[in-house]
Symmetry: C2
Subunit: 506 residues, 2 copies
Amino acid sequence: MEGPPCSRFLWLLKMSVLISGLGIVLFMFRSVSLRAEFSSLTSGLPRPAMAVRMRNLLPEERLRNLFTYDGIWLFPKNQCKCEVTKEHGYNFQDAYSQSDLPAVNARRQAEFEHFQRREGLPRPAPLLAQPNLPFGYPVHGVEVMPLHTVPIPGLQFEGPEAPTYEVTLTASLGTLNTLADVSDSVVQGRGQKQLTISTSDRKLLNFILQHVTYTSTVYQNHGVDVVSLESESSVAKFPVTIRHPVIPKLYDPGPERKLRDLVTVATKTFLRPHKLMTMLRSLREYYPDLTVIVADDSKEHLKINDSHVEYYAMPFGKGWFAGRNLAISQVTTKYVLWVDDDFFFNNKTKIEVLVDVLEKTELDVVGGSVLGNVFQFKLLLEQSKNGDCLHRKPGFFQPVDGFPSCVVTSGVVNFFLAHTERLQRVGFDPRLHRVAHSEFFIDGLGSLLVGSCPEVIIGHQSHVPVVDPELASLEKTYSTFRANTNAEVQFKLALHYFKNHLQCST
Amino acid sequence: MEGPPCSRFLWLLKMSVLISGLGIVLFMFRSVSLRAEFSSLTSGLPRPAMAVRMRNLLPEERLRNLFTYDGIWLFPKNQCKCEVTKEHGYNFQDAYSQSDLPAVNARRQAEFEHFQRREGLPRPAPLLAQPNLPFGYPVHGVEVMPLHTVPIPGLQFEGPEAPTYEVTLTASLGTLNTLADVSDSVVQGRGQKQLTISTSDRKLLNFILQHVTYTSTVYQNHGVDVVSLESESSVAKFPVTIRHPVIPKLYDPGPERKLRDLVTVATKTFLRPHKLMTMLRSLREYYPDLTVIVADDSKEHLKINDSHVEYYAMPFGKGWFAGRNLAISQVTTKYVLWVDDDFFFNNKTKIEVLVDVLEKTELDVVGGSVLGNVFQFKLLLEQSKNGDCLHRKPGFFQPVDGFPSCVVTSGVVNFFLAHTERLQRVGFDPRLHRVAHSEFFIDGLGSLLVGSCPEVIIGHQSHVPVVDPELASLEKTYSTFRANTNAEVQFKLALHYFKNHLQCST
């Protein structure tokens, strides 16, 4: 931390930036532009305001106390940073050589911008209403499907009496009209981007305003049009959101709501058929007819004598997440239960309890416990132009409504039930070939709401080496493939840097 | 169409409903509630307004002309319907027997509501601002990440002079505070859902308001808090959107931006290895090193002697979309090119042209042409409580910016390049076992922006039966699996009814 005077100055810079409400999208500022930011906020304050404000803002320390969650200051800043130590945290760009970095950063920035364009990001700065506007209008929530027409509710004019009134509406992504049956001398520009109403009859004006419509004229999946409503010196602006609803993908649980019509078990195996078969046998003791999808990238393919097992043979050594992604791609039930091939079902492995949680909540994923290990972790993101900072903390955010023994968190152990459609939306990145886990939950940030219910427990097969020489040699080969090589570790860090646009983690 | 008097009445019902701005979410209305809707809109109009309005609305015929796109009236109605004839269109519920339908509808409604809860739907009704409010406030666009704090920009009070001012802010999903360093007698409720400012110093009031902050206190991926700003009889309300950004999943095209680092070819084959091998040979003439992913659900598995081909063996006859979904689940490049196993690459099959289009636009998918067949179709959705109406029209919406020979549409031929991550988000539904195509584009509604560039052409292998008896018998078996049985057709209609929550199509 810099010395007091300097830090005080930086602090003011920060404040002025964040007060502008653009903290996370405004960078590389020069003090000139800053002063502009600043003064734009002082309107309504007297000249000595600057001094006044500086006196009157809470000290940084106080703000840190007020707005810190779990040790992290979750307050918009112009940039974030991670306290990285030898033991803890990563600066992801270290995965690249200094000489490659400039070119990598250029590619990363270009890909990030392409991604943002397609997502309609960054969103426009907040739209501010001035006081004492003579208009009624919709502040928020008017939505129209592409190429559709909607009435704009709540438009009215309540300005001072005048001999004649002229009100102009302007749109940019669509056209305006009114359902009112009045002459073209009163309403001009029907079906165009600018609609002008001129009349001496105030009631007629309001009648026309109450029946104004917006028509989307460009086919797009998401966009926001800012419509302005103007009379003399007064201007009101409001958003019309153009959005095509995402079509549902529902699953029919069937008339009897059997578990097998709701849940598919998915797993991935590699060079340890004995573990897989043990897991399957333990599953069958409790759930004889659930469909199981097995993805296998071993050399020798298996013949599994079970009519409810679907077996997929992959090219040799395609890897962990490729197999997981293959397995979930084949699920045809509402829910999918992920298990590792070396787990062991017992009488505490109550799938129906996890189903009940997902059925009665808005959670997308709910984890159980593997021999008491719930592996709950929270992921907290701080945004920054050159890459976000990701903070990982053990534990959970809050209990799940209606399920006091379950909690909301960001990541769980590798035994979980998920909404198939949501899991497929995020997917397991086939670029991750070896040991990987939290990578999936990081990819799910913003897409998956994750819960954890520790009382649903699955067992784990013993790590005692097998005696059978053939299996033993398989296990030996397996272990050589399991662990991440140094190169693989670097690759994973590079993925976080490039793919997830992260800067660092703690 | 009903007779004039009746239709006029229905028409008024419709209008009053749609004018309420809730057209698509308000149903089963009783005229009582209707009158309420109605009068809620007449505020500011004199009593005889009713009569006035009825006289002054444009006739339905006129509105149909104004707001019809491609023959469909895209205007919110309380319900939609399809003109279904023997040759054209479907009422999807016909896929179920009358006796099953009540139970099916109950399940469908329950699943739909669960889906909506998880998506945060239906969204709240539009928020309306009253005229002449003494407040400045953000109309739209204030966003906060879960558990983070943001300053609320643009808050100010410009009401009449008074000895003392009291302004109260109220939130429901989070807490409020101010960065201003003032005593607890002036600001009450710091860090709570209700913040009250009382002072005789108007400048201080505005200074405090300019520094109000909102803190999200519940972890959720999406939500909207309506914050109210109140002084005496004036109340302003504005939304604070709680949203966790979706983390990017970017692909590194590599320093040289080679095509093989950008594009993977994906295909699915079944019982016709000769077609597959012919397609692969034609591909290799032009693109020797592109990775190809082959999903095969034939009985006999192939050995393909090509180091850039990845071969996946599926259980026999898993079907079309299961295979497609498997293939795309394994892609590790930014783009994936879909081709059928009986296509034929030629010198007009310029993959790099399709890449250029996706690189320079916001399209998610861009199709080419198969022997001149572009198969462009538009999908237009009308929403309705008991299931939406889907209208399919040939052609396109508009040209693609910057690519005059390409167009924006909803569906294309089965030869297209797509953003891998977007394609995986939508996926191919493994429940569709046989001939299926537009089902994918329907599942993509609201998720995929689709384009079509006819000048990129791929060939199709001849339909002349093979001479080789073995292959001939394979092709025979193939054809018995290809066509949809009557049951399969019913199943597809049922999927649209239940899964997509559609009512009918034209």
